[in-house]
């Protein structure tokens, strides 16, 4: 992608997408598919499902680009986060609860010190993923949008359709629940920060 192409704003590209410009659409996809894949993955915890969500969101964008109205003042990414979030919520609600939670990486069987530390890291990652997956839907989305996607509270509140105060409350409850869960499992200590392992 050339520098000139990178300089074009999402909003200008969307104007071209509205007039059926496939190249502009391809540029938008190239620019943001990774970002929104990560967001979808963090919400649903499964790579195939995340890919389906992102593809569906972009196909919706292609078939009905007029859904995005730059005149309303919303950034393209903020608006598209909402599309992806809604699709992810739909899927999470349709999906039956699974015992495994999110996908786990393969374990390494040998007993070398580095392998042991990798196993511990793996355990911590799994516990973290499981704790996040166990959060109520809106708390999980609030945490993902603000902590991992780097959105401001105002943007995240807009995506979730709540006020900023309500979003802050969701975040607070999410963090409290996570801290309690991870403390109970021994991955966090009460006042002394991260548990030192290995």
């Amino acid at each position: 992608m050339g520098q000139q192409e990178q300089d074009i704003s999402d909003e200008s590209l969307m104007e071209r997408v509205c007039s059926g410009d496939h190249q502009a659409f391809a540029q938008i996809v190239e620019r943001h598919s990774g970002l929104f894949y990560s967001a979808a993955y963090r919400m649903c915890g499964h790579s195939e499902e995340a890919e389906d969500i992102v593809q569906e969101a972009f196909l919706k964008l292609w078939s009905k680009p007029e859904g995005y109205d730059a005149a309303k003042g919303a950034k393209f990414t903020t608006w598209f986060y909402r599309v992806v979030t809604n699709l992810a919520i739909d899927r999470m609600r349709r999906k039956k609860p699974q015992s495994g939670g999110s996908e786990a990486l393969e374990y390494i069987a040998d007993k070398t010190p580095s392998a042991e530390s990798r196993l511990e890291e793996q355990d911590r990652q799994d516990a973290l993923e499981a704790a996040i997956a166990a959060l109520p839907e809106r708390q999980k989305i609030a945490l993902n949008l603000c902590f991992y996607e780097g959105l401001s509270n105002k943007e995240a509140a807009e995506i979730l359709g709540v006020g900023v105060k309500a979003l802050e409350s969701l975040l607070m409850r999410a963090k409290k629940a996570l801290r309690d869960d991870l403390m109970a499992q021994g991955f966090l200590e009460a006042e002394e920060g991260l548990r030192v392992t290995g």
Binding site: H22, F25, A26, V29, E30, S33, G34, Y37, S38, Y41, R42, S47, A50, E51, V54, Q55, F58, L59, W62, S63, R124, Q125, L128, E129, I132, F147, Y148, K175, L178, R179, L182, F187, L188, E189, E192, G193, L194
Partner: protein
């Protein structure tokens, strides 16, 4: 308040983006547009919309439509039955013709007919 938790949250692994994801999305969008254009070329935009409209009105709510139709036909039958005063064939046949029709023909010979 959540410093320790924040540190732990920061260690969460970033999902790896599948290779060729954007190319697959762009190709799917291209196929979708091509399929839509093919549909228009086959029947024309007008007929396509007309077909969709008819389907929307008559075909989509099939069970409801069928039930309403059955009730209407049944109601119409009841109404017509109540409104009619019997069937009158007198304008077609005279009493003499009816009498001759009802008389048994005792001169009937089977062999003449078989």
């Amino acid at each position: 308040m959540f410093d320790d938790l924040d540190k732990l949250l920061e260690t969460r692994r970033t999902p790896e983006v599948p290779e060729g994801l954007s190319a697959r999305i762009v190709a799917a969008a291209h196929r979708e547009r091509f399929a839509a254009a093919g549909g228009d070329a086959r029947g024309g935009v007008f007929w396509e919309r007309l077909r969709a409209g008819v389907e929307n009105i008559f075909l989509t709510p099939r069970p409801v439509f069928a039930l309403v139709l059955i009730i209407l036909v049944f109601g119409a039958g009841l109404f017509l039955g109540e409104a009619s005063e019997g069937v009158d064939f007198s304008f077609m046949l005279s009493p003499g013709e009816v009498a001759s029709f009802m008389t048994i023909d005792d001169r009937f010979v089977v062999e003449e007919w078989v």
